[in-house]
Amino acid sequence: MLAIEAAGLGKRYGQVTALAGLDLAVRPGEVYGYLGPNGAGKTTTIRLLLGLQRPTSGGARVFGIDAWRDAARAHRRVAYVASEPALWPNLTVIETLELLSRLRGGVDTTYRDELLERFRLEPDRRVRALSRGNRQKVQLVAALATRAELLLLDEPTTGLDPLMQLEFRQCVHEARERGQTVFLSSHVLSEVEAVCDRVGILRDGRLVDEGALNELRHLRARVLEVTFGTESPTLPALPGTRTVRSGPRSLRIEVSGDVGPVLQELAKHPVATLTAREPTLEEIFLHHYDTRHG
């Protein structure tokens, strides 16, 4: 049985199509990255999977349970983190966690206490006094402590500092080792790269690409910015690279695949500086997905 199964799942708001005929199959135990720019339909998908919104076409099942018709039953096996933390301002952190746990019917309190430590939350602070990032952490702790079979995470690291983002990734790894399924929506490529087994790419309400990370090589492309002590040399054409002369003494090399051969080639020349960065999601969308539906 699939953890998430969507068939022709669609949502229209009047004339606006938020999601068009999504087919999705996420296997139990998988960490699935759901990648797309703002407004692509990521949140709509998750809200449809939670039965908070009614599909205008198709349908979705969570562990074989209809996401719309039988939402409450499906949610026994699901935990959710919203992109905007919406909590009760007057409760303290621990009261919030207690309320959410009781509404759910119990969580692993030992693990919850451990998570409170790891995410450095002060349990007696009132929610209204918390920063956005800290409120996000409250949601994360509440969801992770459930040890639910499926975690639906909607841009969960928004507002978290880099240290906490690392902690979050660690938690996802642990969840995966325990056999939990994770559905992680994000617009941050490196985050998805770091934790996901498989990636779906959403654009304008459509899934434009899907596969394991090593199948989607262009997602793993690196951009090397190289400057030389002398005039920049002409490099031989290597498979999977694209070289642009970005100045009289500099080159910009896009590498999709291993960078080893490029480095070996560069070693023959007087390299002054070398920086490598990942392409931005915008660059990837521009180069790889723009023409398909543009």
């Binding site: 949140t43 809200r47 939670l50 039965g51 908070l52 919104q53 009614r54 939402a71 409450a72 039953r73 949610h75 026994r76 699901v78 935990a79 959710y80 919203a82 905007e84 919406a86 909590l87 009760w88 301002p89 007057n90 303290t92 621990i94 009261e95 207690e98 309320l99 959410l100 009781r102 509404l103 759910r104 019917g105 002060e122 349990p123 007696d124 602070r125 009132r126 209204r128 006094a129 639906l152």
Partner: protein, 532 residues
């Protein structure tokens, strides 16, 4: 002058957002002013009618309670000043309270004020914009009232003064709302504090107008100032100057607080840390009780206070002073015999019905805010069924209404007992519980709005109550066709204990309420939960 332009454009934005509500209020003022003024000649065609009416009501505390003290009932102007002015002043006060809390705190809690202040806009400009919008709103209500009065044939000068007096409580209550907005921790608390002041003013005026030797209390409330202006009965501008001066003082204080406090936080701040208290966290319904316990306590205290005071007023009613003919006329107007504590108490249960209808709207507003603030999605992502969540919240609201009704019944009995006695506890409780079908109908209607038209639900539910009460008020005054009068659920309320319990009407009201509630639940089950 740049600053002025900024303020005006901000005020325009505010007015654009509130145009539906403001137009509804303006229409209400114009319509009631017109109907009351125009109906005088047809209801009291002869001088002897007028004299009889004036004599009766000159000493009738029961009717005064709602519409204040009359100064001249022999002219259509004086009559209108009492009948329209007395009631509309309370509506104006409520408008001022709502408008000010919305402008000064509602926008802030939504985060838009931060956005505005991040522009080259000073705090001064934001406050000036509020004043401009407030002034424009008051002017609109004033103009609408003048229009209604003049259209009914009253002289322009007197109408302008009456309208001024009637709208005048809006300003001091807006000032109160402004101060509450600066001090309270959030919009809800600010709104509740201001509502308490409106209710308190109404009660104070009611006591001043009905209990002898307490007339001086009138000078403690903006509603009393409006009454003391005595439009069409030897008009006195003094009290209105007092009202304006008090408003300016209040607004100045609000400005000083606004200049000094942190955006997004009240001047009086609660602690940001607390020891965990885990009572009433076991289910979403129980948590709702915990979250709203403060607001429920305020409602309970207000209900109890009103109950005792109304009971005392009812008991002090002296029937012996009235002739048989006048008693009959009174009975015609009130819909029941008012010449005994029992009759008066029965009439007062109409107030309870109105209060419970407003309570229902407020509860629905709170339910709706769970959704707009995103917490509903948080809860419904847990293994909690939607229908159940909504049904529980509606049941809680119904239960709380029932509790308030019983409390009111018991307290009105206490009030009567303190003075003279004459109403049994059982009768008082029966009269109170008798209002519940109407309260439930308004609750179900508001629930239906949440299910099918969520964006307008909160405002429209209050609109229904106001419209129903206006129809009820007009039906008592003018020759309104019966089917129009029957549109108001209040019209189907038997005045228990003076009248026998209306089994059929109550059953029909309950059936309608249950039917609407079921449709509401089904509708809520089928629609999208909105994003916070």
């Amino acid at each position: 002058m740049d600053s002025w332009r900024v303020a005006v454009s901000l005020a325009r934005a505010t007015l654009r957002e509130t145009r539906v509500r403001d137009s509804a209020f303006a229409a209400f003022f114009a319509a009631v002013a017109y109907v009351v003024a125009a109906s005088y000649d047809s209801v009291f065609p002869t001088v002897s009618d007028r004299l009889a009416f004036a004599r009766t009501f000159g000493s009738n505390e029961v009717v005064r309670l709602f519409v204040g003290k009359p100064y001249d009932l022999l002219t259509s102007g004086g009559y209108t000043a009492w009948r329209f002015g007395g009631f509309a002043a309370i509506v104006a006060a409520s408008w001022g309270a709502v408008a000010s809390v919305r402008a000064l705190r509602g926008a802030e809690d939504r985060g838009t004020v931060e956005l505005v202040l991040a522009q080259p806009v000073a705090r001064r400009d934001v406050f000036a914009a509020f004043l401009v919008a407030l002034g424009a709103g008051c002017a609109l209500l004033w103009a609408a009232s003048v229009l209604g009065l003049v259209a009914a044939g009253l002289p322009l000068g007197g109408s302008a003064f009456l309208a001024l007096a009637t709208v005048s409580p809006a300003l001091p209550l807006a000032a109160t709302g402004a101060i509450a907005s600066q001090t309270a921790a959030n919009r809800r608390i600010a709104a509740e504090l201001t509502a308490a002041v409106v209710a308190g003013s109404t009660l104070l005026r009611a006591v001043a107008d009905t209990v002898s030797a307490t007339g001086w209390l009138r000078w403690l409330t903006p509603l009393g100032w409006a009454e003391e202006a005595r439009a069409f009965a030897g008009a006195r501008p003094g009290p209105l100057v007092l009202s304006l001066a008090a408003s300016c003082g209040g607004l100045a204080l609000a400005w000083l607080l606004w200049r000094a406090r942190d955006v997004g936080q009240g001047a009086i701040r609660g602690s940001e840390e607390a020891r965990a208290r885990t009572f009433l966290l076991r289910s979403s319904a129980r948590y709702a009780v915990r979250e709203h316990s403060g607001s429920l306590a305020v409602w309970a205290a207000g209900t109890a206070l009103f109950g005792v005071v109304l009971g005392m007023v009812a008991a002090s009613f002296d029937a012996q002073a009235l002739s048989e003919g006048l008693r009959r006329r009174l009975a015609e107007i009130a819909g029941t015999s008012l010449d005994s504590p029992e009759g008066a108490v029965s009439y007062y249960f109409l107030t309870l019905a109105l209060a419970l209808a407003i309570f229902a709207c407020q509860q629905i507003g709170a339910i709706r805010r769970e959704e707009t603030e995103g917490r509903l999605a948080t809860v419904l992502a847990l293994p909690i069924a939607r229908t159940r969540w909504f049904a529980e919240r509606l049941a809680l609201a119904a239960l709380a209404s029932a509790g308030l009704a019983v409390l009111f019944g018991a307290c009105i009995w206490v009030g009567v007992e303190v003075r003279a006695g004459g109403v049994g506890l059982g009768e008082a409780l029966a009269g109170a519980v008798n209002t519940l079908p109407v309260a439930f109908l308004f609750l179900a209607l508001a629930a239906l709005l949440v299910a099918v038209a969520p964006r307008i639900a909160s405002g429209a539910s209050y609109g229904f109550v106001l419209a129903a009460f206006t129809v009820q008020l007009l039906a008592a005054l003018a020759d309104v066709p019966k089917w129009v009068a029957d549109l108001s659920p209040f019209a189907h309320l038997a005045l228990v204990p003076a009248q026998p319990f209306a089994t059929t009407e109550s059953a029909v009201l309950l059936a309608c309420a249950s039917g609407l509630a079921l449709v509401a639940l089904a509708g809520f089950r089928r629609r999208d939960v909105e994003r916070g």
